[in-house]
Every structure is written in C-alpha cells, then in structure tokens.
Amino acid sequence: MSNNKTLMDAEAVESLVDIMAGKIWTLLNEREISNPLMIGIRTGGVWLAEMLHRELGLEESLGTLDISFYRDDFTQIGMNPEVHPSDLPVPVDDRHIILIDDVLHTGRTIRAALNEIFDYGRPASIILATLVDRSGRELPIQPDIIGLHPELEQDQHITLIGPDPLGLVIGSKTNRSSRGDEQGKDA
C-alpha cells in the first residue's frame, strides 16, 4: 500500500462533510421529513455519520450497520473475522432513514445494507448519502447526496481512513489481504 497518496486531509474531509450536512438539511426540508433516523455503515460510514449526526443535531440516536452477514461475496472471501453487531436504537418501521457510507462504488454494499434494514422492518423512506461517488457501478443504485465525484482509473481505489485523523487516500488495487475487508469498504 506504499503507493497510496492522500487526496484529502482531515480538514478537507470535514469541510466536505459540512457541505453534505447542508445538502441533507435541504433535502429533508424539501421532503418535509422531521426526526429522521441516521444509520452509518461500518466502518467509514459510521465515522461520517457521527459527524453528520452532530452537525444536523438529530434527536434520534445514531444507528450502525455491519453488513458482513449480508455480503454477496461470503462464498468468495469467507467470514469477516472482525464483524460487529449492527445496532439500530429504535424500530425502523415507518421511519425516514438517512443511510451514510463513505465510498459508493459497485453498489453491492448498499444492496446489502438495504436488505439488512428491511430485515429490521419496513421504513417509510431511505436517503442515501455518500462522501465519494466513484465510477464502477454494478447495480442500479444512486446516491441522493454526494460529497465528491472523483475521476478514477479502474484499477485505482479510494479509501476513507480514520477515525482520527480522517483522510481520503487513493491507491492502486494491489497488496490486498485476502482476509481483509477491502471489498466491503470499497464496494
């Protein structure tokens, strides 16, 4: 991973998150949504969600989702050794949900997250906000709110590192650990 280079430092990421918070606020107003439930996808999505949750001053506690049990690549990579429980503080039935992830790539992570949320109940609506929207979609999933839309080569990957300090790094797709969680974060 030595050929990684930093695209954005913590300060730049934070200002991007500020902009996203503003966009979310506008969208909530447009749709007349009050008291939404924010859910971050582990791990990067949770870091961002914590910031956004603070910024927007949401009343409902933040939910976290670990999509390890919903991944479609289980048969290719086996069990994620660092799985955490998902934690949704309240029932999702009839709630408006803001789903936060770091990088939207293939769309598979979001597919897994949607499936998991629906195993908890039937939400009224879901807004998807991602820090980075990159090319390479394999499923018909689009974000409602994005922070950044970088132009990347196919073999490049972009990763949110953190939590302290946060940073966005770009590297080429080599040096992957077969047990790691790369695809989950990347997808």
Binding site: Y70, Q76, M79
Partner: protein
C-alpha cells in the same frame, strides 16, 4: 494431540475448517469465535430473525444420541443463517438397519450436504466424520462421548466474557461429574487457552479422571474450599443413573457435599456468577434459590448458545467455501 487437532481444524491461514474440539485452538481463534458471536447476538431481537449468510447451504443435524435441546439450538442457529436444515435421528433409523456410519455419511454427501453437526455417544466420532467427509464439507461437534462439546464451552466463555469482561485474573470452579463430562473437558481447555488465572475442579474422586491435574486444573474434594473466592462457578449435570451405585452412594449425600447452596455461594466472590449447561437437577446439583437467584446466568447461557452456533456454522461454511474455490480455481 494439539498439533493434529490444529491441522484438522484450521487451514493454513488459521481459519476454522471444522469445529471438533477446543484442544489445539489458541486464544486468537477462540476470541475470533467470541467476537463473531457478538455480531450475531442482535439478530434474534429483530423483526426478521434471519440473515442471508448461508442461504442455499444444507446443514445436516446428525444426531446419533438424542438431545432435543442441543439439536434445537443448532437448528435455530442454522435457520437464522438462512441455511436449510436436515434433522436426522440416526439412532432410530440407519444404525438399527446395520448401516455403518460411513454409509450414512456418504449417502448424505450424495445429497450435497454442506455441513454435518454431529452428536454421538463415542469419543472421537466427530473427528472420524471430519476425517472421512468430502472436501468442502464442514463438521461441527455437538458432543462426542466424554470427549468434547466445544460449542457448549464457547457459549460458556461468551457468558463469562459478557459478565466479567476479561479472562485474565479470573478464578473458575467447575463442580461435579468431571470424569464423564465432555462439557467440562472443553471448558477446561477453553478457560486455560483464554488465560484465566485458575481453573479448579471440585468433585469426589470417583467423578474425577485418573490424572485430573494433567488437564491443567487444581483439584478440590471439599466444596467450601473449592468455591472460596472464585469469580465463576460452573455446575455440571449429574446423570441420574450415576447417582446410585459404585460412583456415588446417593443423591442425598451428593447434594449435602457438593450441592450449590446459598451458604456455599456466599463463600465465592460477591459478584460471582453461577452457570450450568442444563437441564438442572434441582436439589441435587444446586438449590432452586441459587438456580433462580440473582447470580445465576443459566438462562442467558441458553440464548447465547444460538449466537455462538451461528458464528461457528458461518465461519466453518465460509472457510469450506474458500477451500472449494481453491480447488475450482
């Protein structure tokens, strides 16, 4: 032993291929099982108590010995992983027709079973099945003879960790029929592997193995001494047929010497927890007041059992999947 168990149960990257015994498994993999189980604990509390992880996989409960409780928790665990479950009560069918264990195994493999969960009266049965199973088929030991019951031991470890946080520094007393107990053997191995500071066994000599100390425990014949200052008391089940005869004179004498009463519990650490693999013989192994008391965590053990089994099933199926891909690739 440790070495052969390690190579049978773990692949080159230390991933779980089968789960047959705690013997040979280090702190790292045991902790991974506990951590993965934490991830599954929430599933039972949701509207849809299922995750799609093992969808399309077929898990066969191969029970040569009746055990509704254990079979049910494995069945529930497999179903919550979205696997299909076959329940085979072999004692009633194949064995009585003279079908050998290997015949049964190969017949089921021909039906493309992905996992065997095995309960058998003979020590080493799960090893035997793992050694003869096709590549890509995982085996989980749900209790073999007096040998091992590793998922029970892990749910006990899970319960202990939930209550005590760490294993280091803990003193644990296991009371009762150690000699015939596969649960106790697996618990002792797990506790020592996870690094507790002391494991004690408390029993009359007729219920202890010939060389109990070689298992890595301190031996007590006096209940009061044995539970003094411990953080965890694990009571074992004593089978009725062992209570009269050459091992013990009577239930009455056993309870008076080794039964867990409030008075004896008071000798342990004030925050000690009381565990039991169930079902309890009230008034033989422990007083009802203790079983239902504030320090008892017996019912939690049961609910954690499902998360542990979900973890182990998914870890084994995951590793076996990888193995098949290596073959295909």
């Amino acid at each position: 032993m440790s070495h052969s168990n390690r190579t049978l149960q773990l692949d080159e990257e230390q991933r779980l291929l089968h789960f047959l015994t705690i013997d040979g498994l280090g702190k790292e993999i045991l902790t991974e099982i506990l951590d993965t189980s934490e991830g599954f604990t929430g599933v039972s509390e949701r509207t849809i108590k299922k995750v799609p992880l093992c969808r399309g996989k077929v898990v066969a409960n191969l029970f040569f010995e009746n055990s509704t409780r254990t079979r049910t928790t494995f069945e529930l665990a497999a179903k919550r992983l979205s696997a299909d479950v076959l329940n085979l009560n072999i004692s009633a069918s194949a064995a009585s027709k003279g079908e050998t264990l290997l015949d049964t195994l190969h017949n089921l493999e021909a039906m493309h079973v992905d996992m065997f969960i095995v309960r058998h009266a003979s020590s080493g049965a799960a090893h035997f099945i793992a050694q003869h199973a096709d590549r890509g088929v995982g085996v989980i030991n749900a209790g073999d003879g007096r040998h091992a019951h590793p998922t029970q031991a892990m749910l006990d470890m899970f319960t202990i960790r939930r209550h005590k946080g760490e294993f280091v520094g803990l003193r644990v007393a296991i009371v009762g029929d150690i000699l015939h107990s596969r649960v106790a053997r697996s618990q002792i191995l797990a506790l020592n592997s996870l690094g507790v500071s002391e494991v004690r066994v408390v029993a009359p000599r007729t219920l202890l193995p010939s060389d109990a100390r070689s298992l890595g425990v301190h031996v007590y014949h006096d209940m009061e001494e044995g539970v003094r200052d411990v953080d965890v008391i694990i009571m074992l089940r004593l089978q009725k047929e062992r209570m009269q005869g050459t091992l013990l004179p009577s239930e009455h004498e056993y309870f008076s010497l080794f039964g867990l009463t409030e008075r004896r519990l008071a000798l342990a650490d004030s925050e000690a927890i009381v565990m039991h693999p169930g079902p309890i013989n009230r008034g033989v192994e422990m007083d009802s007041k203790v079983a239902d008391g504030a320090q008892s965590v017996i019912l939690q053990q049961v609910s954690y059992g499902i998360a542990i089994r979900m973890a182990v099933i998914s870890m084994v199926i995951g590793t076996q999947n990888l193995r098949m891909q290596e073959v295909a690739g």
